[in-house]
């Protein structure tokens, strides 16, 4: 399954236009990788689940705000929300529920089966492979060529028949998106 930013943007635009299932589809596309990311960061399934719920609720509130643009790379945007909530939660020693309150959502109670399922999702999800699917293909291609294969900018530009400036910019954007998703670690 592809997770192109184009389709994510289409889903969010459809959600904004009032299509009820669109945000559900967006949620299904990203829930596992985001949950896995959160579990690995906070090392607590219950806190990770709480953060996951608040992240998607915050995203839904934001996307319904007509004054805000639809994000260019929705996956990076979603992970940024999650990371910010995680930082806030660490500082306050609790996960805020403001977005869920705005939407009238109750906090979900977890049982032992839920905890085991969350841990299973976290351990079975290849975060890097999933992240790759969330970067625009044109950017991922030059990112791999430059960073993983150590090709020169000039060689990549020649191969792709574009200017070095274009290659530099795409690498730069891919790094920026990955850095956003990974939470500030250098890429």
């Amino acid at each position: 399954m592809s997770f192109s930013a184009d389709t994510d943007r289409q889903l969010l635009a459809a959600c904004r236009a009032g299509e009820q299932q669109a945000f559900g589809s967006f949620y299904v596309r990203h829930r596992e990788v985001l949950l896995s990311f959160l579990v690995r960061r906070v090392r607590n399934p219950e806190v990770a689940a709480d953060l996951l719920a608040e992240t998607f609720a915050s995203a839904l509130v934001a996307i319904k705000d007509q004054d805000r643009p639809v994000p260019d790379v929705p996956a990076a945007w979603l992970f940024t929300i999650a990371r910010n909530l995680m930082v806030d939660a660490v500082g306050r020693q609790r996960v805020e529920g403001e977005a869920r309150r705005k939407l009238g959502l109750e906090r979900l109670q977890l049982d032992d089966q839920d905890i085991r399922s969350i841990e299973a999702v976290a351990s079975s999800t290849d975060v890097v492979a999933e992240l790759e699917k969330r970067i625009p293909a044109a950017e991922w291609q030059v990112f791999c060529a430059r960073v993983l294969d150590d090709e020169s900018y000039g060689h990549i530009a020649s191969r792709l028949r574009c200017s070095e400036a274009v290659v530099r910019k795409r690498v730069s954007r891919a790094k920026s998106n990955l850095r956003t998703i990974l939470g500030g670690r250098s890429v």
Binding site: Q20, G24, D72, K102, S172, A174
Partner: protein
Amino acid sequence: MSDFLDRLGDQLTATQSFSAVQSPPGANSFSGPRRRFRVRRRALLITGAVLAVAAPATALVAPWSPQLGRPGIDEPVHTDSSPVIRSATAVLAVLRRAQTGKDRELAAPLIGQVASANLVDGVQTDSIRMVGEGWALVPAKVVLDRRGGEVFPDQLCLTNGSTMSCQPADRVASRGIWVLAGATISGVVPDRVQRVRFTPEDGTATEADVRNNFFTLSSDQDRPTEAPTGGDPRSNAPASPPRPVNGTLQWLAADGHVVGPAEPRLMR
């Protein structure tokens, strides 16, 4: 598959059939800080405009390396020493004159945002010009589309520090550049254009002079309508939201003839 994940998905989908289809309570909280920023930005632009009047115009030859982006936050933006393509300089007098200290001083705070979206590269700093109060023309060798796929070479970007619009340099003669910022339409037009006229779809035409290849005019189409009258005058009933800017832009030569642009429709 976790039951928790399914229950959360059901919650999120269900909530949209209630409150979230309308604007959720508190959703406007996002707009507050942005409006305050705009006010501060406006104050900055006004300050810049005052400086523009006071500083003497002097041609410069020394290298200039303005800050393009926020250190430690934005990816670095490269500069390019090549001149703007001839087809653009041939029709824009503002690019044929030498860069001045005023250009650099006043453009510096405006061009910092070119890196924020990580879309522009190869900024031709020697060809940056102030075209109007608080507006800079910024040529760049490369602009990517917002999703990073399509590449647009040799662009001319018009920015006021908070918004930016780029157009192909080789098409500025026929299409110009225009930016909608709030209720104001600003733009760059070729040398032969003396005035511009904007006619909103359901409003009265307004005109503005062109100076420095630049114009700016207000569109009353974007002005919020007044709150309903006849009720309690102390009522805080909100005005209706801004309407879209739809209309036609015309370029007028010195003799009043319409000479462009190739695509006169403006829409937001």
